[in-house]
Symmetry: D2
């Protein structure tokens, strides 16, 4: 298929002196001629400003740790090195309308509580002792655990490892800040008492909803919020779920064994604006390429391999973060012949679905593999 | 509140000769006068024909085992001792419109495949080696495991313990047969090949959906059936879920810690016509009485205790089955001071909910405890 | 397809002396052998006790009017001649679990207010001046208007035509009383003040929701009840909707142009337990036969014709009421070559749908027409 | 409430030489320090770039008509004067992520067919003879009629008034083009045959779904698309709906009598990305101010009056278009003492709702009226 704008059905008006004068008069009334921009604002297919990027954890880690000494948590609000797409510096996005960053907390450190319209999620990269309190519920999280902080929930975090013997915690934050701002819908509040009073039982949502298949009974006292009542998804439950699924299914030709962290009360995404997935690539597996609307940020949870994104190859290993823009072809390969590789990712798929924007297609040629650009 | 029918707002027409003649003429036209039956068909509150009953497993077990020699599985269709409420013999119901029975399968035995409009569920009481194939998926079930056979799914079962060294399996069947028949909606089909060809991976729904909180991802290939994609709920997952919930919550004043076996894709009941619950009574716990619309059949999964139902006390221990009719006051007590007790139950609550019939109220007097009748 | 019970897959156990003794011992424990009743309670296809019936309005009308003098409204509760299926006298059902009757109110008469678990609907047959107050909303209804009284809404009615010059009103009541009772869920309450205090604006739900395609706006103050916020559906809107639909579609081969009275907020049925339809048969149209689960009560709103139900022909004209049992073949014909015929009907289809019981099939032979039995 | 960033809980890190050097090193890795932008990207409340604007129809109309001679429809694609917010010229938005424009078609003119990811709606301002074909369904629209062209539906339009005696048609287009582009989800296709073959019955969705309260019956053949099956909402039905609602309700203190054009199968908005409303201000009525997330474009359908938006007064009369940005206080007044005024509007409220971004608050002071800025 060719995409020429010089066809009937596209705007093809040439400038003339009369038209230029007309355009100027329109401009004087806060107006313009649609046909001067129509082809640009109604493109044949998505034209993201985001580009594929990989952030090497090996390179970023020292910089992240360096910030511990450079700024105090209370002055920074949060001590985070954010990862910014070269094409999206104006909105501090990693890709599309998703923000991500690496947050570091020293042993014994804690941050004040706030809430905001933006939804947040965490994927722990390294370190012991991390906790977060979300709407009064204390969650303890360790490496590769996934947790959510839905929109407008109070939250604060810290690292309760001992100041003398403990080490720092680094986790990846994912937020929909650029999405919220694009929709002119941002709100922010500092907790009136700076810190929440957590309820006595930690990890209560995990105790209550963690089985996923037996839920608290009651006709009246249900959960009516638009996000998951389960706030933490430990790796020790997520990884076995991948292994189980791998026994029962071939999985997806594009993604290997891929599961979505889900709201056990709806089967839907954990939050209305961001979804999260965990996928396993079998030893040596190389998936076929596909593309879809929606942007994705990956974190390499386990193993090593490579992805080809829009014809460009990115090699990755544990801790690396990479981004796939909307409608970019992408495929993944596990480089190891004996160990599986696991990718965590978060995305804006719930938005694509709610707004009716989801589209997907398989790479048709070459056995499903892109030529390297 | 008093419930006299001799008030304005109730039918209070006395018979006269004229009226009797009139009624006869109406009868000749397949008609009648509403006021002659109005108070009866529109009662102040539910008037179930079902009564509370307890079936002692100790007494039934020998009778159930005796059937092994008395009838062949293939001749009986299924070899089941059904439990019949004294008030519902006309429809073979245990309570309300729920059927239940104890099915026994000898070692090495198997039954042919069929399907029916009625939905079925199983709760294994004793024995090793039981299996069921539901729509081509083989499930292995052991003591206290719960499994479903939703409406119109092909199913067959057996006991694969060795004929020489194995023992019988006894499980409890729960079906909505009386409900289906009351709605003039019963269908039945014998499998054209008498046996299904099971798919190669047993317990595939457990491998795929068992985590409950990570579900297979895919925009297209979803599960659109009105029942749970998860067909088996092992005790080894259900009991820990109860223990977890008990750490996080006081539970219900009427039921202790109570969880519903749920469809992980909706958070709703496992099937549209029958729900199932598992509840834990802490050592020594005595709950308060309540009543609600909807009928319940209980199986004592663990421990011993007693329930007061409509003012009548029933002592129970492991394996016993008892029934609570709609709108009957009921409360439960764990007799043991150090061990928890666990009740499995199934019910028609999903129907109450769909049809808008659910109502519930707490027993208001005497600290929530009924006087014994 | 043949339906023999003498096949593998059905119960085929012959009585023996041993078995008879065994059955007696089971009976002593409120138990029985499933195989003695299995074939009966799990039939090959539905076995309704209801039979097809037609009630002639010409014959019933004088009897209905006669009741005006025979009983006072306040003594009868409601002055209704109920129509009872010969096979369902035990539960006062017209067909399946649906109740129907003809209610008459003399000029100037009114009835006290009550509410019950059963849902009710009205279809006005003749007379001017009828009104009903449903949860404080006064509705005025005339011939062929349809109105609902959802479960547990307070309601009372009357005929406000002048006592001297006015005439009686006759409307058809439809209720799910047998359904409610079968589910042990009946409740009833007389209004504490005997009469409601209606709100000042009559027909407010029609004014507010009647357009169907523009609804009151508000994020907060929504309608969360499980039934339609619109309580009255006037003929003057319903009949033109049929005529419009007839311009755009051929309609159903089994039902002609058929529309469902719907909840404008969901597109679903007006109430969770009963649906209502209006269908137009073009001049001379004879539909093809089909059958489905679910029971239907028809009222001939306009015109004349005939229906063949389970091989039996019933001729009908305006005001006649007839019933089609579950799974009975049925087809309709408009006898008039120049006028359309319109059938109003109500049914339990919402229940069939909620419980997963719906099934439908076309009559396969003879061009879709049943032989007359 | 004061909104100072110099408080604990906000980022308050001052630049130092060390930090500047650190920031530069981060930038070399496509990274940055969150605290340098945190306060800006997580504002206390929404900071839209859009400003309130009013476009005078009197002033724009001659310019719109002038375009008839300046460009041919086929060359322009569509002949539209778009209305551009001074703060959103970069994305051609009228306000927020909503696009709007005035499209003109001369008598006898027609445009080729295309489809796009963006959803469109029309509100006819003046002229007779307009039509649009949406996915094969021809719709005829006149002044003040509202019609939709949901995402990815084929559409083309024209003006079938006679070339010699007819006049031009001007309608307002509303699209979510900026929204689609912000989500990197734009697709566009020219119809392979340039024109659709419309089905024989015009306005079929109006004939089929227009009653809103009686819908086509059928268990199988339902409408499963995420937008309304009704494509046209004539003024002759919408205005009486307003008048009816005005009889039954006081309406909203902020909006007068306000109704939402709704999907009759869901009660929800007409499309997943844009909603539309019609509101009536009684003679002399002045509403109270409120603000909410979500952007709105108004068209004055009838009458005259004024709105105060963010403290600025805008006088309007028929045909004028004005925009209210997210979170701007706004209130409306009907200037006429005897005639009602009617405002049509479209908005992104469905997006606010799906993404969980909706918020609303009343203006608390001065009797609900803003001081003029």
């Amino acid at each position: 298929m060719t995409y020429s704008d010089d066809v009937l059905g596209r705007a093809r008006v040439s400038d003339t002196a009369d038209l230029k004068a007309y355009y100027e008069r329109l401009a004087g009334h806060e107006a313009g001629a649609l046909w001067t921009v129509a082809n640009e604002i109604e493109p044949w297919y998505p034209q993201p400003k985001s580009v594929p990027v990989l952030w090497s954890y090996e390179k970023l880690r020292p910089l992240v740790l360096e910030s511990l000494a450079l700024v105090k948590g209370d002055e920074a609000g949060r001590r985070v090195v954010m990862l910014v797409n070269p094409g999206r510096k104006d909105v501090s996005a990693a890709v599309g309308m998703l923000y991500t960053g690496l947050q570091v907390m020293g042993p014994g450190e804690s941050m004040t509580a706030h809430r905001h319209q933006a939804s947040a999620l965490r994927f722990v990269v390294e370190g012991q002792g991390a906790w977060t309190v979300v709407d009064g519920q204390k969650l303890r999280v360790g490496p590769r655990d996934f947790a959510i902080t839905p929109n407008w929930t109070w939250h604060e975090h810290g690292n309760e490892s001992p100041e003398d013997t403990g080490g720092p915690v680094i986790w990846q934050d994912g937020l929909d800040i650029p999405l919220v701002n694009a929709h002119d819908a941002g709100f922010y509040e500092v907790h009136p008492e700076l810190y929440q009073q957590p309820r006595p039982i930690p990890d209560s949502s995990l105790l209550t909803y963690g089985s996923g298949v037996l839920r608290p009974f009651g006709f009246e006292d249900g959960w009516h919020k638009p996000y998951s009542p389960l706030f933490a998804y430990p790796w020790e439950r997520a990884y076995p779920a991948l292994l189980d699924a791998a026994k029962a299914s071939e999985g997806s030709p594009y993604d290997g064994i891929i599961l979505e962290y889900s709201n056990p009360l709806t089967g839907g995404p954990v939050m209305p604006t961001m979804g999260a997935h965990l996928q396993l690539l079998r030893p040596g597996q190389a998936t076929r390429a596909h593309r879809h609307t929606g942007s994705v940020v990956y974190n390499v949870a386990k193993g090593s391999g490579s992805s080809v994104i829009a014809g460009q190859r990115f090699d990755w290993r544990e801790g690396d973060i990479f981004a796939v823009p909307s409608w970019a072809w992408h495929e993944h390969a596990n480089a190891d012949a004996s160990e599986d590789a696991v990718l965590f990712s978060f995305d804006d798929f719930p938005v694509m679905r709610s707004l009716g924007f989801w589209r997907e297609e398989a790479y048709p040629d070459n056995g499903g593999h892109q030529p390297l650009g």
